[in-house]
Symmetry: C2
């Protein structure tokens, strides 16, 4: 079993030195926080992760959650995790003090979740969804809903879920058909099937509060007729006893990965007796849900980066312990009279490791960047700051959600490859991470949907102002790096790729202008690739620039080897990943139309 699942130094370096957490926290809301208190908090979370999360991940994988006798069996350690996380305030951390929270900076919350998920990505989803459901109630519910439900969720006493997907409406939420009928009490009777409900049922909490999207009788068609309901698994009767609310678990989904994280098929109102409480206004359900979407999508990217990070350290550990083969000498030969070398000395193994390092640390940096934008937006001092950080956050969102997921698959795949034959065996953990990470490019909007969001909504947003702000930020990094002789070549490379990206956007814009929208978006997935590569290259240039400065200033916060390794990884990214922007651009500039549906069957 691997020993290390993330690197604390890299996390704090990214937080303070790259993303300037201390200046992000310079706002009234975070007045109680400074570097010292954040460090203490993260150390406590790491201790929790070391003791209660990481030791159970392999067992959660090998004893999957499963449907049995009307409920879902999950690993018993989850009871401890819910309890301790509740006690430590890890579920409620983001909430206000008067809501029972810690008023954690979102960026710090992200960092804490990142390390917990690196330790155990099967368990953390339960907590994250419980908080997400509670947060919806805090934001849009009434006072009694907060008292009756949300306040008992953030302690870990009750669990929470989000119920969106239905069998006939996966990515297409406008087709949701679960119904809500006003009853004599002024509440609603809910009826319908919901599938893929993560954390949907288990026995480690006394109750589970489902946040359900449904359609009130007579509501408009499409997304404008969807309302949000609190639907508890159990209701409290007058004596305070928990009794059934006609929410039944019809079964579960066995999955490729995240086997410890249950996925339920729930049936609401099979006996016409399932009560739902409307949250906020009727027909505003999807809007409420989407207001939480940015944090949900950051969470998916964060989870993917966590998984790939854990896989990286597992393969790095293996490469430093496994002897195999010999290095090639100047005669082009291997000297078999010598001992075998550790595989970390083979160039291709180093390439596979550096690829993982470049993807996982670059991905983490992006997630923290998006998180600081989230903080800066929510605590903006004036309207222009608010607009700027909102636009930056929105623009980064599809990349933040999908880069760690998509590149993370390659990264975990490289981790498996480092182990050779052992990588294919269940005995070693990288294959589990490869399976686990596969969901990240599917849920909360598939990569295809993220790419549509990027190209059809975010790029044109506010007449291109979001993009303008972003390129201004990137230009600052390019300018700073350009001042250093060693970094200048990389600054120039990034600058030229920005120009490539702009040319591609102009080219695609022609199609939108002439109303060929399907053509405009048909290669959006390739554009997302290109744009993501650019964003991660920006992160790496920033990291290298800060590292270089630290070296020049003889800054001893981290070792000089640490700073050098970051610069090395930036160079790796610029040599091995950045050139892919050009091939993506070639594809996007190609006039051939091959993926738009026509009469002819092209699949013969």
């Amino acid at each position: 079993m691997a020993q290390k699942y993330f690197d604390f130094n890299t996390l704090t370096f990214l937080l303070y030195d790259i993303h300037k957490l201390e200046s992000v926290m310079e706002t009234e809301r975070y007045a109680d926080y400074d570097k010292e208190s954040v460090d203490m908090f993260l150390a406590a979370v790491k201790d929790f992760a070391d003791k209660e999360l990481f030791p159970y991940i392999k067992e959660m994988d090998s004893t999957p959650a499963h449907y049995k006798d009307g409920t879902i069996w999950t690993h018993p350690q989850l009871a401890t995790i819910f309890k301790k996380a509740g006690e430590m305030g890890l579920i409620s951390g983001l909430l206000d003090y008067d809501q029972g929270g810690m008023q954690l900076p979102f960026t710090v919350y992200t960092a804490s979740c990142f390390l917990m998920e690196a330790a155990n990505n099967h368990a953390i989803g339960y907590l994250g969804l419980t908080f997400g459901a509670a947060e919806l109630i805090y934001n849009f519910g009434n006072e009694s809903q907060v008292v009756d439900f949300a306040s008992r969720m953030i302690t870990g006493e009750w669990g929470g879920t989000m119920c969106l997907t239905e069998p006939q409406a996966g990515s297409s939420l406008s087709d949701i058909s679960t119904t809500a009928t006003l009853d004599e009490t002024g509440n609603y009777k809910i009826k319908g099937h919901k599938i893929f409900i993560s954390g949907g049922d288990h026995e480690h909490c006394d109750n589970i509060i489902h946040l359900v999207l449904a359609r009130i009788d007579g509501a408009p068609k499409g997304t404008k007729g969807i309302s949000l309901f609190i639907v508890p698994k159990k209701l409290e009767d007058t004596s305070g006893e928990l009794i059934s609310n006609d929410v039944t678990t019809a079964g579960d989904f066995q999955k490729l990965g995240q086997k410890g994280y249950c996925t339920a098929h729930l049936v609401f109102g099979d006996n016409e007796d399932c009560t739902g409480y409307l949250v906020g206004q009727a027909n505003h359900g999807l809007r409420y849900m989407f207001l939480m979407m940015n944090s949900a999508r950051i969470a998916v990217g964060r989870g993917a980066a966590s998984i790939a990070t854990a896989a990286y350290y597992a393969s790095l550990e293996y490469a430093t312990e496994r002897a195999q083969g010999r290095r090639i000498n100047n005669m082009g030969q291997k000297d078999i009279s010598q001992e075998q070398v550790l595989i970390i000395h083979h160039p291709d193994v180093r390439r596979l490791l550096l690829l993982q390092k470049a993807i996982t640390e670059g991905g983490l940096s992006l997630i923290l960047k998006a998180s600081t934008y989230y903080d800066l937006y929510h605590n903006a001092k004036n309207d222009s700051e608010k607009e700027k950080y909102n636009l930056l956050l929105e623009l980064l969102m599809p990349v933040t959600k999908s880069y760690p997921a998509e590149a993370g698959i390659h990264s975990c795949n490289a981790a498996v490859q480092v182990l050779g034959g052992y990588g294919f065996t269940s005995e070693y953990i990288p294959q589990m991470y490869l399976r686990d990470i596969r969901i990240a490019s599917i849920y909360e909007g598939t990569t295809g949907i993220q790419s549509l969001d990027l190209l059809s909504r975010k790029i044109p947003m506010a007449n291109g102002k979001a993009l303008h702000f972003l390129f201004e930020e990137v230009a600052k990094t390019i300018d700073a790096a350009g001042l250093n002789e060693d970094l200048q070549p990389f600054a120039l490379k990034l600058d030229s790729k920005i120009k490539t990206c702009k040319a591609v956007i102009d080219h695609l814009g022609q199609f939108a202008t002439k109303g060929a929208f399907e053509r405009y978006i048909s290669d959006s997935a390739i554009f997302l690739d290109l744009f993501s590569n650019l964003i991660i290259a920006w992160q790496w240039l920033d990291i290298a620039c800060v590292s270089k400065t630290a070296l020049l200033n003889e800054d001893k916060t981290y070792s000089s080897e640490f700073y050098e390794s970051k610069i090395h990884t930036m160079r790796f990214f610029y040599k091995y990943e950045l050139p892919k922007i050009d091939s993506a651009a070639t594809i996007l500039l190609d006039m051939d139309e091959l993926t738009i549906s026509r009469e002819q069957n092209v699949f013969l």
Copy 2:
């Protein structure tokens, strides 16, 4: 469950129209074969695959082979498969008539295995290894070894395995340490551990014949001191009864995929009583094994192409049945008053499907190309033909082994993505194929090792003559395509990528010339990517050229839609895949040295 796992028309089109099977068969050895008899043979194999293989694949996955009470439990259907395959001559097909074989052209054998593996990649390995082991005995063993062992393997009565890997010697065969000590009978006592032995133990054959690499006492160090032994699981006593030969199964490996295909840890001679029979001459073991290596590597690529093909058809079927969302109209909107459309009409889904089609059919074409070279080499009419086809075969080998494996991962990954949330569930089969295919880039030499073979052995081979022959072949295709107006742009593109490839080879050559061998090979994996892309682009241009000619000639062998779909897929490959050659070239021409081991720790 998916209904279709490969396309018969595509297979026969590639065999006859692209790879000119009929002219390959114009040799005395294959005198009994013509198109009609091959078609009949393949139809019979398909019938076998439909009935005995494909219906069991999901169950083999969900009830993995596993170690129990000293042996390994495998799926009972394997008994039927061994028996029927033996009866149909599918194990022995390649052997001479007088050996009990069918003298099948290797290309036809490849096609038959391809379709069987597409139906069930867990089961076919057992047959393939049994044949491989028998083939070693037929080629290098003596007459009594043939009678005593090989003749009983090709009927499916006895199984066979290859035992190379040891715990301390995975990819490094020079470090094999299993011993062989001459005994009083003139045979050897074998002692050692072998791991990752595919098909290593099960109860569906009366006996299993292991072909074991071991070191005779006093043999030279390294690969020159390795001998090959027949080591039966059981020996026949004088009364013909099968008794133990001190081969014990110490355990098995549970794996990410191919769960129905058992992987054993075998111990030879734990009680000092394990008899081995030397095959051929002492210390020639690795040479014998490597003489079979080309067919073994073709088999791995073939298996990977099979798996990806089955995944493609499973996802294609889903895409033609699942309605979800709506197309974007000229206003850039979706009209929710309309019915949802089948997802096959969404551009990104089509892209994911065409990507799979391009990879799987391109990969299959390469495998059949390599197989025809195998046939042409083994049946060459003169020395110059022999040399030419040998060099072509050798040069194509690393690509044939690794392209279907590596690109196949992307292809199966795309299959999963097409299914969205369902793709992550065990209910649907693409996730199994994604797990199954993961082994192909590891065994019979990892992709890293294939890339070393390509760059350090095959490219410089015979002073570059192999490469010269290959580019001559590619040039013929470019010339033919160039004659057609529609295809000319693609011919020009391929020609320009050939020049790119040559420039890269010249650039890398500098390092080898000055003795910087580790630098020369350090980016070999990237070179393998580039070279593979070129080879597949060549296959597609050939396919498009033949299809175009058929359309012009109003050839009705296949429908015009069929030919058009092949041309469409060529265009897809040239738009979406070929440009990656340029980014690979950029990487290879970059002078930064980042993956060669130095003192400094770059993994901080």
